[in-house]
């Protein structure tokens, strides 16, 4: 297990070597420490090297160590398929459970459900969250958009346990895939459940539009993961939503920790705002369920 002290020591050693060779390159240990423990709200095992969930998670943790990321919220396992059957959803959740079991101090699981299979999804929520170790719902990425009424019982179940919901969203200029959700769909859902907490994964990708769409719906947080590290995204999100509503995630393994962390570390915002985005906000959202499960933070 990687302790915070070991992590900072390793980053510090790397930086010292670089400095000695006149190649200042990476954020120093003190810079990383300034932002507090980094928690990543959006990780998958897909495209991560390794055969088993445990092997993939070992690889992922190795990369997380290099980047100073302390906790990973893991979901969806590693199937490349988009529209899964209940059996496949369960298999993916089992993969996440296995990976998290191997690194319980570095990761939490989040349950993969589908409004297309409501009864199954409610049972799976109970198995993985109510009776299991998982602490969130999502990333939800299904063949029905998230504004459908079938999502309501799932959201109610999540609200009862006070767990956040990570919902995939995109605003593709050529049109979304059938069933693919947009930030507008999420706003519809969130307005029906004002007490629930949502993370708008990718903020629609087209973030200048996505941020505006979710701006007035206070129970939606902007997830900044899973699109290019385009300059200005985090500055706009903080300006329009407040730093309390912006959450760092990476969407590894399809993306890198590096490009997604850069959006926050490189942003022209205060250190306090960076602390919130890189972990503070996520810890606040997860606080009730972590307390309920007796998890150490």
């Amino acid at each position: 297990m990687l302790s915070r002290r070991t992590l900072l020591k390793s980053l510090g050693a790397s930086c010292s070597l670089a400095l000695a060779q006149g190649a200042t390159a990476f954020p120093s240990a003190s810079e990383v420490a300034r932002f507090g423990p980094i928690w990543d709200a959006h990780c998958h095992l897909h495209l991560v090297p390794g055969g088993t969930p445990e092997e993939r998670m070992t690889a992922l943790i190795r990369f997380a160590d290099r980047m100073g990321v302390e906790r990973l919220i893991l979901s969806q396992g590693y199937s490349a398929q988009m529209h899964l059957t209940p059996e496949q959803l369960r298999e993916e959740n089992d993969r996440v459970l296995r990976a998290v079991r191997r690194f319980p101090d570095r990761s939490f699981g989040s349950v993969y459900l589908s409004p297309s299979y409501l009864d199954f999804s409610l049972q799976e929520f109970d198995r993985c969250v109510r009776d299991g170790p998982m602490v969130g719902v999502g990333e939800l990425e299904a063949d029905k958009r998230c504004n459908v009424p079938e999502l309501d019982p799932i959201v109610e179940r999540a609200m009862a346990m006070k767990v956040p919901i990570l919902q995939h969203t995109w605003l593709k200029i050529g049109g979304n895939e059938p069933g693919e959700s947009s930030p507008d769909d999420l706003v519809e859902l969130a307005k029906r459940h004002p007490q629930a907490s949502f993370i708008c994964a990718h903020t629609g990708g087209d973030w200048e539009r996505g941020i505006r769409i979710i701006r007035g719906t206070k129970n939606i947080h902007a997830g900044i993961e899973g699109f290019d590290p385009t300059s200005g995204v985090v500055e706009m999100a903080v300006r329009e939503l407040g730093a309390e509503r912006v959450i760092y995630g990476s969407d590894v393994g399809g993306r890198s920790f590096a490009s997604q962390l850069a959006k926050v570390i490189g942003a022209d915002i205060s250190d306090d705002a960076k602390k919130l985005i890189l972990g503070g906000n996520l810890r606040r959202l997860l606080s009730p369920i972590l307390q309920a499960k007796g998890c150490r933070r």
Partner: protein
């Protein structure tokens, strides 16, 4: 010390960027210990008076980054008398290379004009930077939808132009790494990594096309500069191999 082979001056047409003033850009690069940056111009993507674009680029590089910014002029072979722009890039502005945007300029790599650009640039010993895209096609402005450059003719063109010195900029994940491998094998082709994605993506690219062919590029100011820096960290490459990417490979390309 870093040679950043992909920075761009002037204004991105769709958004103001931190760093789109040349003094600000230079300050940011110096802060990160960049000691040389190969600079193109956003104006070269859509402007038709390319000669003026290149003159401004050269002047800005001289004024704001005399010892740092190295101008790479834009060239659009769809414009009349583009050969004069090529001549001025080298003879007037003393540029070591040019930057191409075939997808924004409306030609494919199978176009004979592209082969001619390669031939003339090679004869002049100019580096050719070929930008494969500028942004994710899914998030482009609805009235300016530009797909990435289609690369399939490139390997043969490189083989047919011995001595060509080519750098591919913005290697978007849409173009799979497996497409880059045959191009790498065809000749002196280098790959800039600002848009390379996936966990440990830079190290994987280096495995596919060889470490000697990968160049540091930030795509600043369109991207946060820190992205390239952190990708190097995530790669886990040992210090000696990092230096190849940070500067040695670019220096070799510049001096071949």
């Amino acid at each position: 010390m870093i040679i950043d082979t992909n920075v761009t001056l002037s204004r991105w047409p769709f958004r103001r960027l931190t760093g789109d003033e040349p003094a600000e850009l230079v300050a940011q690069l110096r802060k990160h210990n960049v000691n040389q940056a190969w600079a193109g111009s956003f104006d070269g993507i859509l402007h038709k008076d390319i000669a003026a674009v290149n003159a401004r680029l050269a002047a800005d590089c001289r004024t704001y980054g005399q010892d740092l910014l190295v101008p790479f002029g834009s060239l659009n072979p769809r414009l009349p008398d583009w050969q004069e722009d090529l001549r001025r890039c080298q003879e007037v502005h003393k540029m070591p290379g040019i930057r191409l945007h075939p997808n924004y300029h409306g030609y494919g790599l199978e176009d004979p004009a592209f082969a001619k650009v390669l031939r003339l640039a090679t004869a002049r010993r100019l580096i050719v930077q070929l930008a494969l895209c500028m942004e994710d096609v899914r998030t482009q402005h609805p009235l300016v939808r530009v797909p990435p450059v289609e690369l399939s003719p490139l390997a043969d063109l490189v083989k047919n132009n011995p001595g060509v010195r080519l750098e591919l900029l913005n290697c978007t994940p849409i173009i799979g790494v497996e497409q880059l491998q045959p191009i790498s094998s065809a000749g002196e082709v280098y790959f800039e990594f600002s848009m390379v994605e996936g966990i440990g993506g830079v190290a994987r690219l280096a495995e596919r096309v060889s470490l000697e062919r990968v160049l540091f590029g930030s795509n600043y100011p369109l991207f946060y500069f820190e992205s390239a820096l952190l990708k190097m960290q995530e790669s886990g490459l040992p210090e000696s191999r990092r230096n190849a990417l940070f500067q040695e490979n670019a220096r070799r390309l510049l001096t071949v």
